[in-house]
Symmetry: C2
Subunit: 273 residues, 2 copies
């Protein structure tokens, strides 16, 4: 089911600025038994993205109600929100006032193998380098060609790719954030110049700090990953996947990721715990 500004719809006006320029934002939420436990977190990030792009905030109550409607009756579902700058113009200047368009969709829950959580995944280090754009970093905007190109690099059997910045430092996964345990510290790279400030990344940071795990936001290089004791990748749909191999190097799975995943599953059942 798909709703556009609250109305059932399967199409979008051709003059939407989301199509023309990627002028908008998105969020992908996990819904369990018809409800999104992280609704408020996604809403807060969407609002932050609106502030960055200069768009008015979406109507939170409408979004809540529409999310409920599309998620109803599903054990697990992926809810996608798209907020665009609406119809308008051929040219970079937005019409004033902006009349944003709100799209709410439900998609089937992805059928990832259970082994991804239990045994881990293989990571590929992509050649494509993320560009640095502090004006857009962190938010979930619709300009995602870097991710589309990087995804084409993934060899068969690799579930995720590592993206580095122009300096060769690790930033994130194609559709996830990355964590490594090095010398007993849980490290994830900064996302101030490029990358997405993932909600599961934030949850992991908060939860690790609460659990007394030494935690740091620091640059990582691909060879740091190869000597890491544990690596895992996170997003709001997978929760947390251990990494068992990066390139040609085997990585052990370990206690930090297991502890965090178990903790997550208590309230956020991405798998049957």
């Amino acid at each position: 089911m798909m709703l556009v500004n609250g109305q059932p719809a399967e199409t979008l006006p051709l003059d939407d600025r989301g199509l023309a320029y990627g002028d908008g934002l998105f969020e992908t939420l996990a819904a369990f038994d018809g409800a999104c436990p992280w609704f408020e977190r996604h809403l807060a990030r969407l609002r932050m993205g609106c502030d960055v792009l200069g768009l008015p905030h979406p109507d939170a109550e409408a979004l809540r109600e529409e999310t409920r409607r599309v998620a109803a009756g599903r054990k697990r579902a992926v809810i996608k929100w798209i907020v665009t700058a609406g119809s308008g113009g051929r040219g970079y200047a937005r019409p004033q006032p902006v009349q944003p368009r709100r799209i709410v969709q439900a998609h089937p829950w992805p059928a990832h193998p259970r082994a991804y959580w239990d045994e881990g995944i293989a990571l590929h280090v992509c050649r494509l380098r993320l560009s640095a754009q502090p004006a857009l970093a962190g938010i979930k905007h619709l300009n995602r060609l870097e991710q589309v190109l990087a995804r084409q690099e993934l060899p068969e059997g690799c579930a995720e790719g590592v993206l580095c910045n122009a300096a060769g430092e690790v930033v994130e996964g194609i559709a996830s954030n990355l964590f490594a345990v090095l010398d007993d510290t849980l490290i994830t790279p900064p996302v101030g110049d490029c990358g997405v400030n993932g909600l599961m990344r934030r949850w992991v940071l908060e939860t690790a700090v609460e659990a007394g795990i030494d935690t740091a936001i620091e640059p990582l290089r691909p060879d740091d990953l190869e000597r890491a004791r544990e690596i895992f990748t996170t997003n709001a749909l997978i929760g947390l996947w251990p990494v068992r191999r990066i390139g040609e190097t085997d990585v052990s799975t370990g206690p930090v990721q297991k502890r965090l995943l178990a903790r997550l599953l208590e309230t956020y059942p991405v798998i049957d715990g």
Copy 2:
């Protein structure tokens, strides 16, 4: 009039990857008396963009016929092509095989004041810096948030903005390329790391070389612009606009731009010559 894969339409399926990720390309063509004199140039750049993004080339004959249909009966029109990676999936991986979607639209010719050509425009130097992404530079892809953000910086009375890279070097205008005459040499910045390789930019370079004007593709800094003898800005819809002011600095208009514009108007009547 708007055509989607050759059929009259006003909407696009909501699952189009152009909306979801900006996974596609566009071209804006000038049509005069129902014909696009630069059809082949735009088609060549669109094909190059398809190669960069890994998309199949659009059907050239269909594009030609559809362009003719939407441009028919108009003295001047803006034709916009959008080619997207088509419907498919929630995720960065494209469905295989990709079934691209082809959108052909006609828009009214923009009503720019005649003085922009005769007397010149004012330029504003934008704070936003373009990010460097050699994997996407040059092509007209749908990821245009940098331009949308920069456009918001333009003060009243400035018709175009100057965009610099992270090193502070001038790259282009928000929706145009830039040229400066410095020490009798016509200079435009390289677009290998960011920026669009504009068709009017190429025409100017070719035409200047043929006309015996010293020409170079070299980095320019904002202070180079301030001491330039002439500056002008180019794209396929405006042709060439002289610059009469940049920031607080007046710039003289001069013979190089006049000669090039007169030459252009012989075959490409963006104004009543």
